[in-house]
């Protein structure tokens, strides 16, 4: 049952093969058995989860079942859930019991899905390896000496080890796609504005997006159906007609134009990873797609641009953590200034403090034009590269990450090396486009993902293109050993 897709779980519940309480208990037992070895979860609450499962069983009994009713879903600890400890991976929020539900959480609650628990993550979503969490590193179920990727490392590890059938995650510079790639999962970052950010603890407001982390494109579609939709509480949320992302997911892709950006295959990519991507391209050709060469000439600038804009926005978003109204407050202080400075020194980890410092610097007097404003201009150039590319192709294909999962501690001391993990994913966030990663191979038993990038609001197409690949391959069915 741990390998069941969301559809199988949904059908099984409908056919009364099992109840929500039963599957929830099943996964809670697995958590009990295996979570300690990979540290994927920060908060597990059997009582709360089972209570929700019981309510869902009532809904199912009354015949009011939705696709995800009764199914336990792991929630990244970045989503505020009322009554649940919500930490964002930080000591700063270690004592924070959220007084409200994020819109994403409400949406799951409204269809009767079960909250399986809060997954581990890089602190305040800043990281690519889940090594910055206050609650300890997350281990990659494929090799527990390795990182799962980040910042949604906990969600990825949980689903990869089959401790949850699916999870929510967030992506600001690649934090869904890169861990999906490193853990052999299918993860989707939707178009900016498609999923509400209300209640999703902010890192970089103009880049953050929530999305699903699953075993397959089909499961991602089912999750996106619940997660997406306009929210009047989020000014940046888009108003558009609701789509069913499962529709058309089996459409044939003959004639589909797949753009391959030459910049994604220049320096920095691991040779083995490149081989796997090329195999994927060959596979798509066999499935009837047409391969087109395209260029994203400003892609190399996406990292410096990101490391100006994201820390700048973050430095401001994290100012509210001051010990006054909630969260951590230092124990001893002489005066107000002392209280602020000690609270924030003790409450934040190293990477977060570094990014706040850089963010503060680039916004400060005399530097705003040279850095922040400049970055926003180049951002437009990067975005225009994509517009031009999408005139020649329907989707863009490339690697999700430059390498497979690496040993814990390997890149931690060198932030710049760590930042390069996001070289293929960041530009999508800057442009606000949707991007997906799906498993396409293994190197030394470590997963490699292929990334697909689509035009604005083309999630249905992306999921379709991914699904056809998955209908014709088995990579997404593979699981790590040791979690039977």
């Amino acid at each position: 049952m741990e390998k069941f897709s969301l559809k199988e779980l949904s059908d099984g519940l409908k056919a009364k093969k099992f109840s929500s309480v039963e599957i929830t208990q099943f996964f809670l037992d697995r958590l009990d058995r295996y979570n300690a070895s990979i540290n994927a979860f920060i908060t597990i609450d059997n009582e709360k989860s089972l209570k929700m499962a019981k309510q869902s069983d009532e809904i199912i009994k009354e015949g009011r079942q939705d696709y995800l009713t009764g199914i336990p879903i792991a929630q990244k600890d970045i989503f505020c859930a009322e009554g649940w400890k919500t930490t964002c991976g930080s000591k700063m929020l270690d004592n924070f019991i959220s007084p409200y539900d994020a819109t994403v959480i409400s949406k799951f609650n409204n269809v009767g899905a079960v909250n399986l628990g809060k997954t581990n993550m890089d602190e305040f979503a800043m990281g690519s390896s889940n090594e910055t969490s206050y609650y300890g590193n997350v281990k990659n179920p494929w090799n527990i000496k390795n990182v799962p990727g980040g910042s949604s490392g906990g969600s990825a590890a949980a689903v990869a080890a089959m401790l949850a059938p699916a999870a929510t995650a967030t992506d600001t510079g690649g934090s869904i796609r890169q861990p999906a790639s490193l853990c052999g999962l299918t993860g989707l970052k939707p178009t900016y504005g498609l999923v509400s950010r209300y209640g999703m603890i902010a890192f970089a407001s103009s880049l953050d997006q929530a999305g699903p982390m699953c075993h397959s494109a089909e499961d991602c579609a089912a999750m996106l159906n619940v997660m997406s939709g306009h929210d009047s509480k989020d000014s940046t949320s888009i108003k558009r007609d609701k789509e069913n992302y499962l529709n058309g997911i089996h459409n044939p892709i003959k004639g589909l134009k797949i753009g391959i950006p030459k910049e994604f295959f220049s320096e920095g990519i691991d040779a083995d990873v490149e081989k796997i991507i090329e195999q994927g391209i060959t596979e798509y050709k066999k499935l009837g797609a047409e391969i087109v060469d395209i260029s994203l000439p400003n892609n190399h600038l996406s990292i410096p641009v990101y490391y100006v804009i994201a820390p700048a926005e973050a430095s401001s978003n994290l100012s509210r953590y001051d010990g006054v109204r909630y969260g951590y407050r230092t124990k001893e202080y002489d005066d107000l200034m002392d209280m602020y400075c000690k609270t924030r020194k003790e409450g934040f980890g190293e990477e977060v403090k570094r990014r706040i410092m850089i963010g503060t610097y680039v916004l400060s007097a005399g530097y705003y034009d040279a850095y922040y404003l400049k970055a926003q201009k180049i951002r437009r150039l990067i975005s225009e590269d994509f517009s031009k590319a999408f005139k020649k192709c329907d989707v863009i294909l490339g690697p999700s990450a430059p390498s497979v999962s690496f040993p814990i501690g390997d890149k931690k001391e060198d932030p710049l090396k760590m930042y390069m993990q996001d070289v293929y994913t960041i530009s999508t966030n800057l442009a606000g486009l949707p991007g997906l990663s799906m498993p396409a191979g293994l190197i030394n038993n470590l997963p490699v993902g292929i990334q697909l990038i689509g035009n604005y609001f083309s999630e249905a197409k992306l999921l379709n293109v991914a699904n056809i690949f998955q209908m014709n391959s088995d990579w997404h069915h593979l699981s790590p050993k040791g979690f039977e």
């Binding site: 504005g193 600038l301 410096p304 100006v308 109204r325 407050r329 850089i358 850095y371 400049k374």
Partner: protein
């Protein structure tokens, strides 16, 4: 480009984060590295390009002027480290 001790101190002050001498050196090193990364940007010609704040060309929606929020005092005061008579307590604010 070197981050002087003074600059680090200034940035730390603006961000209200205590940084002692030893940390300041470490931070300075790491920040210089990041700055070197960012510097690549400054060479690019962006004359005539509009800055991009948002991915999509949408404009600010407006909310009807109605009171819709509840009194959440009980919840909110419970979440704070120190409260008294429904106020959040902090060290004295001097003007």
């Amino acid at each position: 480009m070197k981050f002087s001790k003074e600059e680090i101190r200034k940035i730390a002050y603006l961000a209200r984060i205590n940084i002692d001498e030893i940390e300041a050196n470490k931070v300075s090193e790491k920040l210089e590295g990041i700055l070197g990364l960012i510097e690549q940007m400054t060479q690019v010609n962006t004359d005539g390009i509009e800055p991009m704040s948002h991915a999509l060309d949408i404009t600010q929606p407006l909310r009807e002027d109605k009171v819709t929020a509840d009194d959440i005092r009980e919840k909110s005061l419970n979440l704070s480290q120190e409260t008294d008579q429904s106020l959040f307590i902090v060290p004295k604010v001097i003007e």
